[in-house]
């Protein structure tokens, strides 16, 4: 029997021991003596979050298809186990073999949000791997980062040997081959890293030097070794149908956030909302073939036994074969008593019909994400959702028996005025009114319930808003109060509930999102002072963070509220994500002029992603 890394005594005294024992259905066991490469794939958050991530399931499946590689998983030990491991000097281990991470060849870390940076340091620390890549030798695994935050890797550049920019399906095989070759040739670790930096999409931070102007903006960004490319171009899968996708995803014992089969229907988004990073970095839109999706849906349900399936993508309504796919799933699932969990769809006759078929109307609510309260501001952010469309959709839904509506907005968007904020309240009120206008008294099922939620806008790299100043905490809170008061003034205020997010965490996220290499020091220091699980409200220590920045001589306003000039070199400018800086600049200008840009299906806006020669960029447009 497999020997566990943790003793019974420890496992019986911590919360949810199932997080640490592996052995889940479809997890992969191999004979370690029959493989050349041991790969530990990490999501630096608790098991239930990490296990819900599709990207790791895809790469886990792909890497384990390689005969010479055994890919295992590792997640952040929860604080209860964390303290036990520190007290007893227990090294972090992978779930499958229960062996130390330090003895692996690779430690791959997916970086999905900025607030997990200290958890990355926890992983390194508990694994007994030096924090700084430059202090590591061949005794340590190659630490490689990927995911959306790798599009600005600079705040955590010191801690990684390599960043993989883009989609993981394409360059791992060449990288593993190079690794084997270098090991066989007896290369130094540095030599291996230099050669790895020449593979497409791979960025080795220690091979670049950053120089700064007096005001700490970047002067130059240059490779320090011959042959290391000056820019790193993201990797993408050009054909999403003929590629790897897991048919047997790992099925956890304990309930995870995503407790269902996840079918990714497309990547990328045609919409081009100006605040959205995903909408830019995953361009161009590529769809999976509907027949492939049908086949995978059936197989994945059979192989996992899940009682629910959900579709995953940005703006799922834009998937061209959605109707065919959903119709197929409804029929198939009904017969097998499987539930379909729908992604947020554009509310129209089709989606309402589907929703009625797959969920209990009385229990479910409608979701709209207007993101901004006024049409003016929606034009600024290029959110192509009009009040007319929202009210029409809502009325249609009210007729169908729905009486609960969720609305998502952002506060602190560029050019926002109090009038735009009041628009949030007014739109909520109009929706409430639409209910009373549409549904006659005798048919009403209680009062309409509207929940308006606002989050605070954080400018992200590779978006048209990367030049925008972020609001201060005080401004954020002011805006939330304005929204709250405006809602209280509405006729139907009793039907409207208003929620807003924590402002501290949004400020922190803003610092890290557009951060540079100078942040590596305060991040490490904050971790050493006990900052960990920053994404979890109950563990986030705002004061410690701010105090640490001050100690390190960092002015946080430089990263957040500062207005950036159009010719400033950004820390992430060495990455080529396809979408050009020129395009983003013109979008920023158009935003300030309240001009809308058409979506990719309507017309090509020459964003630059066509250079990948795939997806929507190579398709004939309807107009």
């Amino acid at each position: 029997m497999r020997k566990l890394a943790l003793s019974d005594e420890i496992l019986l005294n911590i919360e949810k021991p199932a997080r640490y024992i592996g052995n889940e259905v479809n997890s992969v066991m191999k004979d370690k003596n029959s493989v050349d490469i041991r790969f530990a794939m990490c999501f630096p958050d608790v098991y239930e979050i990490g296990m819900s991530h599709l990207g790791i399931q895809i790469l886990y499946d792909m890497l384990n298809r390689y005969e010479d590689t055994w890919c295992e998983r590792v997640y952040s030990p929860w604080p209860d186990l964390d303290s036990v491991m520190r007290a007893r000097n227990i090294a972090l281990f992978a779930l499958e073999s229960q062996e130390n991470i330090k003895d692996f060849d690779f430690l791959g870390i997916t970086i999905q949000y900025e607030m997990c940076y200290t958890n990355i340091l926890q992983i390194l620390d508990l694994s007994q791997i030096p924090f700084h890549a430059c202090d590591r030798d061949w005794d340590c695994p190659i630490v490689i980062g990927g995911g959306p935050c790798a599009y600005n890797p600079e705040p955590i550049a010191d801690f990684f040997d390599i960043f993989y920019i883009g989609e993981g399906e394409t360059q791992y095989r060449p990288l593993l081959d190079l690794y084997k070759k270098c090991k066989a040739e007896g290369c130094s670790r540095k030599e291996f890293l230099i050669r790895a930096s020449q593979l497409p999409g791979l960025y080795v931070p220690q091979l670049y030097e950053v120089t700064y102007n007096e005001d700490y903006t970047i002067k130059a960004y240059t490779p320090t070794v011959d042959g290391v490319p000056a820019t790193v171009r993201k990797e993408i899968v050009s054909d999403l149908t003929n590629t790897v996708y897991p048919q047997k995803p790992v099925v956890p014992f304990i309930k995870c956030t995503q407790d269902r089969v996840v079918l990714e229907i497309q990547r990328g988004c045609i919409r081009g909302c100006r605040f959205c990073q995903a909408g830019q970095i995953y361009r161009p839109v590529r769809e999976r073939d509907v027949n492939m999706l049908k086949e995978y849906a059936v197989k994945m349900l059979e192989n996992t036994g899940y009682e629910e399936i959900s579709l995953s993508s940005l703006s799922s309504s834009d998937y061209s074969q959605l109707e065919e796919l959903v119709t197929f799933l409804i029929e198939r699932c009904k017969e097998k008593n499987v539930n379909i969990s729908l992604p947020s769809l554009r509310i129209d006759a089709f989606s309402l019909d589907v929703m009625e078929k797959v969920q209990d109307v009385k229990k479910s609510s409608l979701t709209f994400a207007p993101e901004a309260g006024s049409q003016r501001l929606r034009n600024v952010i290029n959110k192509g959702l009009t009040e007319e469309v929202i009210l029409k959709g809502a009325a249609l839904a009210f007729e169908g028996g729905w009486n609960r509506v969720k609305l998502y907005f952002m506060l602190g968007l560029p050019t926002e005025t109090d009038e735009d904020i009041r628009g949030i309240a007014e739109l909520s009120d109009k929706i409430a009114m639409a209910y009373y206008d549409t549904v006659p008294k005798e048919k009403r099922n209680g009062r309409v319930q509207i929940v308006a939620s606002t989050s605070f806008f954080v400018p992200k790299p590779f978006t048209p808003f990367q030049w925008a100043p972020q609001c201060t905490k005080e401004e954020f809170l002011e805006k939330a109060y304005t929204a709250k008061h405006a809602i209280m003034e509405q006729l139907n205020q009793k039907s409207i509930k208003y929620n807003w997010h924590e402002a501290d965490a949004s400020v922190m996220e803003g610092i890290l999102a557009r951060g540079d290499r100078r942040l590596c020091t305060p991040i490490l220091k904050a971790y050493q002072k006990g900052c960990i699980f920053d994404a979890w409200g109950e563990y986030y220590k705002h004061d410690v963070w701010m105090e640490t920045f001050t100690e390190c001589g960092i002015d946080t306003a430089f990263y957040t509220t500062r207005a950036r000039s159009l010719d400033e070199i950004f820390p992430w400018d060495f990455i080529d994500c396809g979408v050009t800086k020129e395009f983003l600049k013109s979008e920023w200008q158009r935003a300030l002029h309240e001009e809308v840009t058409k979506n990719c299906k309507e017309q090509c806006n020459a964003c630059g992603a066509a250079s990948f020669q795939c997806g929507i960029c190579t398709m004939k447009r309807s107009s």
């Binding site: 029997m1 497999r2 566990l4 019974d8 005594e9 496992l11 019986l12 021991p17 199932a18 024992i21 592996g22 052995n23 889940e24 259905v25 099925v251 014992f253 304990i254 309930k255 349900l301 059979e302 192989n303 996992t304 036994g305 899940y306 009682e307 097998k336 008593n337 539930n339 209990d360």
Partner: protein
């Protein structure tokens, strides 16, 4: 048609709690393609019930669940199909067809037998056969029990059906009430034994295995304990 399925639970699976084991079986049954019956209503669920929840950390050779199926293959086929879907640590031991009149698994449980081994360094020197004989010979065994309202005491004696100690193997065996009204957790009995001997009690000392779960085919006064699957038959 109702089946009573017996399974064992060992190894790392002992860290999986009761609710997660239920969820695990719901998925396994789907994977195995078993023609299970679903409840009616808007969100149909599999008709499945478990006999007696097993605490986290315990192993078992005698767990039971009842499921309702729409069609039958054979006991052998069923066991094979479900075993093909098991994670390392759970094994399906038997599947019996229940008579129409059979009560549900949980309500049928009368008693359970436990085997207790001691972890290294925790083997109690004071424990001998005579000690256990003396323990069982008491006219009453008063123990403290935590309830929602605080601590109460009650007499364990009527709920203890048998207890022996194997001096060679250092194994303690006992059968206690496991019905929903009078369930005796193994730790409670162990604590009583240790208290009787004035020994320090550490719950971590034990490796507990539930050996079997019983129903009573006799009367309340003169019990006849049989394994829960006794009333079913192979098919």
């Amino acid at each position: 048609m109702k089946l009573r399925v017996k399974f064992s639970k060992h190894g790392v699976l002992r860290f999986i709690g009761h609710l997660d084991v239920m969820r695990y079986f719901q998925k396994a049954i789907r994977r195995a393609g078993i023609d299970i019956a679903y409840s009616a209503g808007f969100s149909p669920h599999q008709i499945m019930s478990f006999a007696a929840p097993l605490g986290v950390g315990l192993e078992s050779n005698g767990e039971y669940m009842d499921i309702e199926v729409n069609s039958l293959t054979s006991s052998k086929e069923f066991v094979k199909a479900l075993n093909a879907q098991m994670a390392d640590g759970i094994e399906i031991l038997e599947a019996k067809l229940l008579p129409e009149t059979a009560g549900n698994a949980m309500a049928s449980v009368a008693a359970a037998r436990y085997a207790v081994a001691f972890r290294e360094g925790y083997i109690p020197a004071f424990l001998t056969n005579p000690v256990i004989v003396d323990f069982c010979g008491q006219s009453e065994i008063i123990v403290a029990k935590q309830t929602k309202k605080g601590e109460t005491t009650f007499d364990l004696k009527p709920f203890l059906y048998e207890c022996t100690y194997d001096e060679e193997q250092n194994m303690l065996y006992f059968t206690v009430d496991a019905s929903s009204s009078g369930n005796v957790k193994p730790a409670l009995l162990l604590k009583a034994v240790y208290d009787r001997c004035n020994a320090e009690f550490d719950e971590f000392a034990f490796l507990i295995t539930r050996e079997e779960t019983y129903l009573n085919i006799g009367t309340q006064e003169s019990m006849q304990l049989k394994p829960l699957g006794f009333i079913g038959s192979d098919y």
